[in-house]
C-alpha cells in the first residue's frame, strides 16, 4: 500500500492519508500514557486468568491458583450471619413460649423472624398477610379449627394437619353423601339446619325438626350438640360468622356430600425448634391468638 500521507499546511501535522469528500484526517496518535495503560490492562488480564477462575472448559472451568469461588465466599458469609443470629435465636429457644410475648425485645425478634419464615413457607397457602382463602384458614381472625392458644398453634405448626406425621392432627369431615350415609334431601335439610345455627336464612319449606334430628344423629359427635365444634377433632364452630369453605347452601351441600380433609404439612424437621417457636408467636400475635 502506498503512503498517501502528506503534511497539512494549516496545522503542520501529517495526515493519515484517509480522505472523505475532500476532508482529510489529521494523524493524531493516542497519547503514550493511554497506549501504555491499554497494554497494562492486557497484562493484568493475563494475571487475572492465572489467579482467578476464568476460562470455561468442557466440564468445569479453570479454577485459578487462589481457588476463589463466589459460592464458597457466600457460604462463609452465611455462616457468619448464623453466628451473629445464633446468640439471639438461642435466647428465643431457651425462653418459655408463654414468656416471649411479655418481653418486648424477644417479641420483636420472634415477629421479625416469624414474618420472614412465614413468607418463605406459609404464604403459598395462607397468603402473605396470613389472611387465607377458601380452604386455607385466615390466621388473623379468632376462629381456630385446632385451637388458638400459643401451645395449640405451635403444635399445629410442628405436626401439621393430616400430614402423615405420627403426632399430627387427625379427624376429618366425612363424605355423608358420597358414602351413602345421608340421602340427597336429607343433606339439603341438614345444610339448612346448619345455616339456621349461624343465624342465616333457610330455604322455604325447610323442616326444622327433621334437620335437628339428622344433625343430632350424624354431626354432634364432632361438632357438639350446640354446633360450636371441637378443636380436639378440628371440627369448626358452625354458629359463627366465619366459614372456611363458604356458608351458602350449595357450598354446605358440597361439604356435607363430599367431606373435607384439608392438609397442612408438619414443619418439625424442616424448621428448627427456635424458628417454629418464633412462627407460633408470630401467628399468635397477628391478632387472633387466644
Amino acid at each position: 500500500m502506498t503512503d498517501h500521507s502528506e503534511v497539512d499546511t494549516v496545522t503542520g501535522k501529517s495526515t493519515t492519508g484517509h480522505e472523505w469528500d475532500g476532508i482529510k484526517e489529521l494523524n493524531t496518535p493516542l497519547p503514550r500514557w493511554w497506549v501504555m495503560t491499554f497494554y497494562l490492562t492486557i497484562l493484568w488480564s493475563i494475571g487475572y486468568w492465572i489467579v482467578y477462575p476464568a476460562w470455561p472448559l468442557i466440564s468445569g472451568y479453570t479454577s485459578g491458583v487462589l481457588g476463589y469461588s463466589t459460592r464458597a465466599s457466600l457460604a462463609v458469609e452465611l455462616a457468619n450471619l448464623e453466628k451473629i443470629r445464633g446468640e439471639k435465636m438461642a435466647m428465643l429457644a431457651a425462653a418459655p413460649l408463654a414468656d416471649i410475648e411479655k418481653d418486648p425485645a424477644l417479641l420483636a425478634l420472634a415477629r421479625a423472624k416469624g414474618r420472614t419464615v412465614f413468607g418463605d413457607n406459609c404464604a403459598p397457602c395462607h397468603g402473605s398477610g396470613a389472611s387465607g382463602s377458601k380452604g386455607f384458614p385466615n390466621l388473623n381472625d379468632d376462629d381456630w379449627l385446632w385451637g388458638g392458644t400459643l401451645d395449640q398453634i405451635m403444635q399445629t405448626i410442628q405436626y401439621g394437619v393430616r400430614s402423615g406425621h405420627s403426632k399430627t392432627h387427625e379427624g376429618q369431615m366425612l363424605a355423608f353423601g358420597k358414602d351413602g350415609v345421608l340421602k340427597a334431601d336429607e343433606i339439603v335439610t341438614v345444610a339448612n339446619y346448619v345455616r339456621s345455627l349461624a343465624g342465616l336464612p333457610t330455604r322455604q319449606g325447610y323442616d326444622a325438626a327433621k334437620g335437628t334430628k339428622i344433625f343430632a344423629d350424624n354431626c354432634v359427635s364432632c361438632h357438639s350438640e350446640d354446633g360450636k365444634g371441637n378443636p380436639e377433632m378440628g371440627a369448626p364452630n358452625l354458629t359463627d360468622k366465619i366459614w372456611l369453605y363458604g356458608s351458602d347452601e350449595a357450598a354446605l351441600i358440597e361439604t356435607i356430600s363430599n367431606g373435607r380433609s384439608g392438609v397442612m404439612p408438619a414443619w418439625e424437621g424442616r424448621l428448627d425448634p427456635a424458628t417454629i417457636k418464633a412462627m407460633a408467636v408470630y401467628v399468635h400475635s397477628l391478632g387472633g391468638g387466644k
Binding site: 503542520g12 410475648e101 418486648p104 402473605s128 389472611s131 381472625d141 376462629d143 360468622k241 391478632g287 387472633g288
Partner: protein, 488 residues
C-alpha cells in the same frame, strides 16, 4: 479563498491570554498592627474551640453521654449542651444552615469578606502554617532566597525543611484527631487511640483529615480561595456599594513616588500621592495580590495590608489608613470635598437581620415547645381488616412510641374511633380494660402491635378516621396521631 496561515505565525496566547497559569508561590512577610492582633486573637479562639470543645463535659444523668457536643452516629443522636436531637429533627440543621448563610450575607454587606479574612478554616489554618514556616525558615526575603538557591542543600537547610513539615503534620494530625473526638466520648477515645484499640474508622478519618489539612494549609493555600471556593463569586454578586471593603484610598492622590521625590513635588505644589510604592502591602498579602488595583476576587480582606501600610505611613509621617475599610462612595465624596458617610443600617442589612431573627426565632420556639413524647401509627396493609367469628371487625396497626426524655415513661393508649371499640396491644395484659398501658424506656422508641376491634353493631360502613392518644400517666403529656379504621 482565505489566505493560508503559517501555523508558527499564530500566537493564541497574545490574543486570548493563557488558559492555565502555574502557581506563583506567595511569601507573605510578617506584619504587626491592629488587624494582625485581631487575627491572632480570632485564630486562638477558633482553634481553641475546635480542639478543646470535645473535652467539655455536660451532665445528662446516668447512662447518657456526658460530652457537651457529640454526634452519636451508632445511636443516631446529636447532643449540643442542653439540646438532644433525633434524626427526624434534622430540620433544625436546615434552619441552622439558613441562619449561617444569612449571617454570612450580613457580614458581607457590613464589612465585606469578614468570613474569608478572619474566620474561614482555610484562612485560620493557612495563617497558622505560615506562622510555623516563618518561625523556622525566616521571613519573606530569607524564604525566597532559600527557595531560589541552587546550592546543594546543607544539613542545616535539610533539618529546617524536615522540622517544618513535621510540625505541619503534627498540627494536621491534631486537627484530624480533634475531628473524630466529636463522634465519640473524647476521653475514652483518646485513651483508645493511644493504646491502638480505637475502631479502624477513627484512624482512617484521622488520616483523611491529616492529609487534607496538610495539603490545603501547607500547599494549596490561597489557591483554594481563588480557584476552589464558590464564596468569592457569590459574595461579589451579593455585595453593594455601601459595604465596607479593604480598599486602597485612591483619593489620597497620584502619583506614587519615593518619599524624597514626593517631598520635592509637594514643595513645588505639584500633584503627588501618599503611596510611596514601597510594595509592603503586596509583601504581606497572603494571596499575593496588589490591593491598589482595587477590589478583586483574590483579596480575602484579611486587613494585613492595612497594618503594613499604616506602619509605613507612620514612619514617613503621613496620615495612616491609606488602605482601610472603605467604599467607593466615600472616596468619591472625599474627592468632592464632602464628609464620608458610613451607612451600616440600610434596607439590605435590616432585611438580613430580620431574616436571621425570624428563622432563629422559629427554631428557638419549635425547640422550646417540641414534644418529648411522640406517636406514629401505620395501618396494616395486608389484611386491611379482619372479620371475627362474632361478626366484629378488627384492624391492626403498628404503633411507634417515641420517648425523647431522659426518664422512662408509663403511657396509656386510648382511641377515638368506632363506637365501643376495644383496644389491645399484643403482649400487654391490660389492667384497665381497653386502655392498655406500656412502658417506654428513656431516650428510646418502642414499636407495638395494636389491635382495634369494633363490635358488629357499631361496624362503620366505610373507612372512618381513628385518633390514637398516648398519655403519660405521670405527667399528663399527650401525643396523638390519626389513621383510619377500615371495614372489609
Amino acid at each position: 479563498m482565505n489566505k493560508t496561515v503559517n501555523p508558527t505565525d499564530l500566537k493564541l496566547d497574545d490574543d486570548y491570554g493563557p488558559l492555565y497559569a502555574a502557581q506563583k508561590k506567595v511569601y507573605p512577610q510578617s506584619v504587626s498592627g491592629t488587624f494582625r492582633r485581631i487575627k491572632w486573637g480570632l485564630m486562638a479562639f477558633c482553634l481553641g474551640v475546635y480542639y478543646f470543645l470535645p473535652f467539655v463535659r455536660w451532665n445528662r444523668g446516668l447512662g447518657a453521654p456526658s460530652q457537651a457536643v457529640l454526634i452519636d452516629l451508632p445511636n443516631s443522636r446529636f447532643y449540643f449542651f442542653f439540646i438532644e436531637l433525633w434524626p427526624q429533627e434534622v430540620y433544625y440543621f436546615t434552619g441552622l444552615l439558613i441562619v449561617a448563610a444569612i449571617a454570612l450575607f450580613l457580614m458581607n454587606s457590613i464589612g465585606g469578606r469578614i468570613w474569608c479574612g478572619y474566620l474561614c478554616p482555610q484562612t485560620v489554618w493557612t495563617d497558622l502554617f505560615y506562622a510555623v514556616e516563618r518561625l523556622i525558615e525566616g521571613d519573606r526575603r530569607e524564604r525566597m532566597k532559600k527557595d531560589k538557591s541552587s546550592d546543594p542543600m546543607k544539613l542545616e537547610r535539610i533539618s529546617e525543611i524536615v522540622l517544618k513539615h513535621s510540625i505541619w503534620l503534627l498540627i494536621a494530625w491534631w486537627t484530624g484527631g480533634a475531628w473524630v473526638l466529636y463522634f465519640n466520648d473524647a476521653p475514652t477515645l483518646v485513651k483508645e487511640l493511644v493504646t491502638f484499640q480505637a475502631p479502624m474508622i477513627a484512624y482512617i478519618w484521622i488520616c483523611i483529615l491529616t492529609a487534607s489539612t496538610y495539603v490545603l494549609a501547607g500547599f494549596m493555600r490561597e489557591q483554594v480561595c481563588t480557584y476552589m471556593c464558590p464564596w468569592p463569586r457569590i459574595q461579589a454578586a451579593l455585595t453593594d456599594e455601601w459595604a465596607l471593603n479593604v480598599t486602597y484610598r485612591y483619593d489620597r492622590g497620584e502619583k506614587r513616588t519615593s518619599v524624597k521625590k514626593a517631598a520635592e513635588l509637594r514643595a513645588l505644589g505639584q500633584p503627588v500621592g501618599d503611596c510611596i510604592d514601597c510594595y509592603q502591602c503586596v509583601a504581606v498579602c497572603p494571596t499575593g495580590i496588589d490591593i491598589r488595583d482595587g477590589a478583586q476576587m483574590g483579596c480575602i480582606q484579611c486587613g494585613l495590608c492595612i497594618d503594613a501600610c499604616d506602619t509605613v505611613m507612620t514612619k514617613i509621617g503621613r496620615p495612616t489608613r491609606l488602605i482601610g475599610y472603605d467604599n467607593d462612595i466615600n472616596i468619591e465624596r472625599r474627592q468632592a470635598g464632602k464628609a464620608p458617610i458610613y451607612r451600616i443600617v440600610r434596607a439590605r442589612t435590616i432585611a438580613y437581620s430580620v431574616l436571621i431573627a425570624v428563622v432563629g426565632g422559629i427554631m428557638l420556639y419549635t425547640l422550646a415547645t417540641r414534644s418529648m413524647l411522640d406517636v406514629n401509627v401505620l395501618h396494616d396493609r395486608n389484611p386491611i381488616a379482619v372479620k371475627l367469628s362474632d361478626g366484629s371487625i378488627r384492624n391492626a396497626y403498628t404503633v411507634r412510641l417515641l420517648n425523647k426524655s431522659g426518664y422512662d415513661r408509663v403511657v396509656a393508649i386510648d382511641i377515638d374511633g368506632p363506637v365501643n371499640a376495644g383496644v389491645h396491644v399484643v403482649g400487654v395484659d391490660s389492667v384497665t380494660p381497653d386502655r392498655p398501658m406500656v412502658v417506654i424506656p428513656r431516650d428510646a422508641t418502642s414499636e407495638l402491635r395494636l389491635l382495634v376491634t369494633a363490635p358488629a353493631e357499631s361496624n362503620p360502613e366505610k373507612s372512618i378516621p381513628v385518633r390514637f392518644h398516648v398519655t403519660d400517666i405521670g405527667l399528663g403529656e399527650v401525643a396523638s396521631a390519626t389513621d383510619n379504621f377500615v371495614s372489609p
